[in-house]
Assembly symmetry: C2
Homo-oligomer: 365 residues x 2
Amino acid sequence: MEIHVTDIPTLDDVIAAQGRLLNVAVRTPLVRSERLNALTGAADIYLKPEMLQRTGSFKFRGAYNRLLLYAHEHRNQHLGITPEAAAGAHDHQGHDHTQHDHHHHSAVSYPPASVVAFSSGNHAQGVAAAAQMLGINAAIVMPSDAPALKIARTKELGGEIILYDRATESREEIAERLATERDAIVVPSFNDPHIIAGQGTAGLEIIEDLCMIGTVADMFICCCGGGGLASGCALGFESLVPDCEMIVVEPEHYDDVTRSLAADDIIGIDGYAPTLCDALQTPKMGELTFAILSSAGARGVVVTDAEVKQAMKFAFEEFKLVVEPGGAVALAAVMAGKVDVKGKVVVVMLSGGNVDPATFAACLV
Amino acid sequence: MEIHVTDIPTLDDVIAAQGRLLNVAVRTPLVRSERLNALTGAADIYLKPEMLQRTGSFKFRGAYNRLLLYAHEHRNQHLGITPEAAAGAHDHQGHDHTQHDHHHHSAVSYPPASVVAFSSGNHAQGVAAAAQMLGINAAIVMPSDAPALKIARTKELGGEIILYDRATESREEIAERLATERDAIVVPSFNDPHIIAGQGTAGLEIIEDLCMIGTVADMFICCCGGGGLASGCALGFESLVPDCEMIVVEPEHYDDVTRSLAADDIIGIDGYAPTLCDALQTPKMGELTFAILSSAGARGVVVTDAEVKQAMKFAFEEFKLVVEPGGAVALAAVMAGKVDVKGKVVVVMLSGGNVDPATFAACLV
């Protein structure tokens, strides 16, 4: 797919997403500790704890933003409202009046909106939770060998689980087939403008909260799988805090984004090496996330599983937070000295906390 | 000590404390989960995660409020400003202009303010952190057999540690002697109007946040040692949400508040039985906390260590939060069916997360 310039979301899309998520998503606070500052020599390090988000990771933000917009499109399509007319219902503050007037059309009946997603992890739960809240049918394509707990959690959130065999089937093909059969859309996990804009609301909250205390970030450090969260946040930082350095962090063996940004071209990796960071096992970033992160001048660094474990233990001790391995790579990069934070005001993203008890307990000893 | 009616703090004191803590304390969010609602039959349960507060527990709130006020008194005293003149510097919004005009008096030099506290746990860290931020000398009286980690943490926060022998010495006497020698005040851990008002800011945040989403609490459930947090929050709920039921939760063997509220008289207990909830081993509540909780119609319930462990595990799995045993009793009461939450909007306090890794890991299996 070629990128059209209009596909790349902007700060305006992030701001609009923030309006949609108000009082729906958790506005996670920033937390800090003198001990981490002393340990690293940073002027101040602020952590954004997105494991406190609904479903235990930032993924809910993008999913809800995407699904709410789709619910509107679906309804308008069934009611014969053209995109042009629907656009006229938006006022200049970006508020969408159409979401509040369901009752005007209550006499008209149409089939519920339907979405398909594939993910064995946080995106599955984010989509299922958002679909449940919005009355949308969600089918989640998951590998038959996915952890039973993750399948159970996605089911609890009302998702219909479609299992497939990793060895013989393609999840993309299954998802596309289901979408055609059900007149549904496929909700990508990162390479989608509305997903990116939704994840970017986390970055906007960071910028606002620092502004409130009269501080400006010198550096933003974010975990990176496909780059949805990092690029969404980059939209805010690039526009509002242009001097802020953007660092993305990947686990060893999954450094495709680090390589792509260095080469200024999308480079895929094999992606079969073992890693503790299951949430970041993305072999190739997307064209949208690449375009945004390149434009923001982001660069990548890589951390090891051992460094990730240390960061998880530290987050437990000092911040009383449960961070999953993939969610801890940015903190790991800071603690392992992979980035120079000396004297700087730094923001570190902790993206999620969906880790099983045994793995977590093993990091504490 | 006889209680004078003016010693009992009011909602105004909580609001003033909130002003002092703005952008200093973490404004902790409310978090919720459909799974907990489904499990308990509640209409909605919101958790207040105070382990995200500075120093890992709510104790920082009261300590900072108390110490900031004391820093003003100390300065005024040394500059010859009378309490009446200082009171005139407060405007009608409760803002205190005196805290911003240190530079007017920079030519006058006087000894730094000095405080003494005794605690082996969260209060010690709260006082040390607040003192460090305010340039106050803090001496913390701790038992010589206190965990090395807690002593080290309090030292890291700039506290001077005074060790005593539990078997042969009285910490109250040592604290009083030090206070006299150093012209310092003793900062009590709960029975103090400014400590109570400071802790109450957590309750005010809860009420404000629920108001934002158009919800009103039917029940507030709070852990209880000496009752500082519970009574501080009660000040807000009693004034602003008078129909809200107030429940305090204690660990087995430490049910003095439950008994006191039932008997309408302060009843002490022996307080030597073992409990996982080290933060709640208070043998007797204070006169101020009793007066406030009685007036608010609070009643107590008791949970076992086994119930506490289950709640800690659930908070890990569902909320990605590290809760210490004493901080988990309110959630334990809900999960164990000790309170009837069916159909109600309920707020549950999670007061802190200072638990050692081995204890925590043992709760996960």
